[in-house]
Amino acid sequence: MHTSRAAYWFLAPALLLIAAFFVVPIFASLALSATDFDIYAVASPANTRFVGLGNYTELLQNPLFWTAVGNTLYFVVVGGPLSVAVSLGAALLVNSKLTRAKGFFRAVYFVPVVTTLVAVAVIWRYLYDPRFGLLNYGLHFLGIGPIDWLGNPHWAMPSIILMTVWKNFGYNMLIFVAGLQAISQDLYDAALVDGASTIQRFRHVTLPMLGPTFLFVSVTTMIGYTQLFSEPYVMTQGGPLHATYSIVLYMYEEGFRWWHLGYAASIAFVLFALVLGGTLIQRRLRR
């Protein structure tokens, strides 16, 4: 370990950048949320007035805000666990002792993760087409009638969840595979000696041993899911009937479409509060 002035020189570029373009904007966002900063203020910041908690009280009275919060929570609470469950299932399949070509399947399942979300959303828009889409074509063989995936307010959010699970499950699968490989074989051998069935071994060895991985994956996934934006932006524009309107989409539209930056900043802080709440719950659970 070395003490030297040089350390500051090595740190300076990164820390200055983080300070100027990450830390300052976060505090500025809090300040902004207490103002009526709008299109006139973008032109000249002198046109800004302090409004205190005005934006927040307005926000809480706006039904569209509650719709956005409700949709985002729907996406997080249904999509998050579903995605984690699919990831765990895929990890168990890929990691099974009986599986051949493990590396191949692992890589294939991972491919959607590296894809560009916007491109994927464009593709799935056509897969979801009620008349020509492959999904309805496949389902008609099972006798399931045509579903208006993105056009029906009840189906729009499930459709976005389905696509997101397809895109993301490979990521958490890899983390689960690493977690599974860290479980000692002795535990399974001992369970086998005691006559435990496959399901019992899964319940009493695999699941408890995966505990920390499970928690990590669930929390990071759900935090990531609160930031839902590109999927509704590209696929549904938040519709139909605001069924896929998310918090971040609301923030984007208020901020960059209507230039109500002050009001939008208060939406950003609600998002921050949600994520912070989620993280604190995770801390609690860990103990």
Binding site: M1, H2, S4, A6, A7, Y8, W9, F10, L11, A14, L15, L17, I18, F21, F22, V24, P25, A28, S29, V42, P45, L93, F105, V108, F110, V111, P112, V114, T115, T116, L117, V118, A119, V120, V122, I123, D129, R131, F132, L134, Y137, W166, G170, Y171, L174, I175, F216, I223, T226, Q227, S230, V234, Y252, G255, F256, A268, L271, F272, V275, T279
Partner: protein, 269 residues
């Protein structure tokens, strides 16, 4: 029996995973209208490059490819070196406030990027950087995650090696350039792959800060095109192929590094 069922499930999973992408490629070579027929076509007949021709002539997507390439390479190169320096400093130097600073930074990892985006836009506006490559590059130039990755890896560099070089009279910069950087190479490659993909795929920030078609990165250009050409399925699929091909190719060649980054990121706990 069990083994067969397992592999049937695996293969079905693989088909489900790849089908949308395979259909995308197939549809991109179909003549106009063929992707929206019932029952659907799976093989383009006759196969055509017409969609790609329209993309690169009339819609001038080549400049969007260039924008994405410039922004992604610049952000990746700059952030790799900047985070390497900082990660090394956190791992191998003693200075006042080091540990609290590092812990505070890690806590910042949970803050969603969107929280600061509105003021960030105002800052870029004040710096007259809106609608420039720099507006996209600058916020990516330092990454807490990157600093963390490098720091964990750099902890394993033996102090004796660095001290020996100091005794020989090497400057700190020379030590960093000739000893530390080569030793950090594996983690830097992993980080660079990670970074490249995330900048290439990024959508929301470029959408906000770029205002002119000629400056759009590929995802923004594609989202914009779907607005105008929603009926042109085959054309849009060609656009998706152009957007995805580089990241998919990078993944095929560099998947080992990418996958390492994920498992390393997850042990931070």
């Amino acid at each position: 029996m069990k083994r067969v069922a397992l592999h049937v499930a695996l293969v079905l999973g693989a088909i489900t995973t790849l089908a949308p992408l395979i259909w995308m490629v197939a549809a991109s070579f179909m003549p106009a209208g063929q992707a929206t027929t019932y029952p659907p076509h799976f093989i383009p007949r006759p196969a055509t490059l017409g969609n790609y021709r329209i993309l690169f002539t009339r819609l001038d997507v080549a400049r969007n490819v260039m924008n994405s390439v410039i922004v992604s390479f610049a952000a990746t190169g700059l952030s790799t070196i900047i985070n390497a320096m900082a990660g090394y400093a956190f791992a191998k130097f003693r200075f006042r406030g080091r540990d609290p600073l590092f812990r505070t930074m890690l806590a910042g990892l949970v803050i969603p990027a969107q929280v600061g985006m509105l003021p960030l836009f105002v800052i870029m506006k004040q710096l007259h950087l809106v609608n420039s490559y720099w507006a996209v590059i600058i916020p990516s130039m330092s990454s807490i995650f990157g600093i963390f990755l490098v720091r964990q890896y750099a902890l394993s560099i033996p102090d004796e090696l660095l001290d020996a070089a100091r005794i020989d009279g090497a400057s700190e910069l020379a030590i960093f350039g000739r000893i530390v950087l080569p030793l950090l190479r594996p983690i830097l490659v992993t980080f660079a792959v990670f970074m490249f993909m995330s900048v290439w795929n990024d959508f929301m920030w470029p959408l906000i800060v770029l205002s002119d078609d000629a400056k759009y990165t590929l995802p923004v250009a594609l989202a914009n095109l779907t607005g105008e050409h929603v009926q042109d399925t085959e054309l849009m699929m060609a656009g998706a192929v152009v957007t995805l091909a580089p990241v998919l190719a990078a993944f095929l060649f560099l998947q080992r590094y990418y996958i390492e980054g994920i498992t390393m990121g997850s042990v931070k706990g």
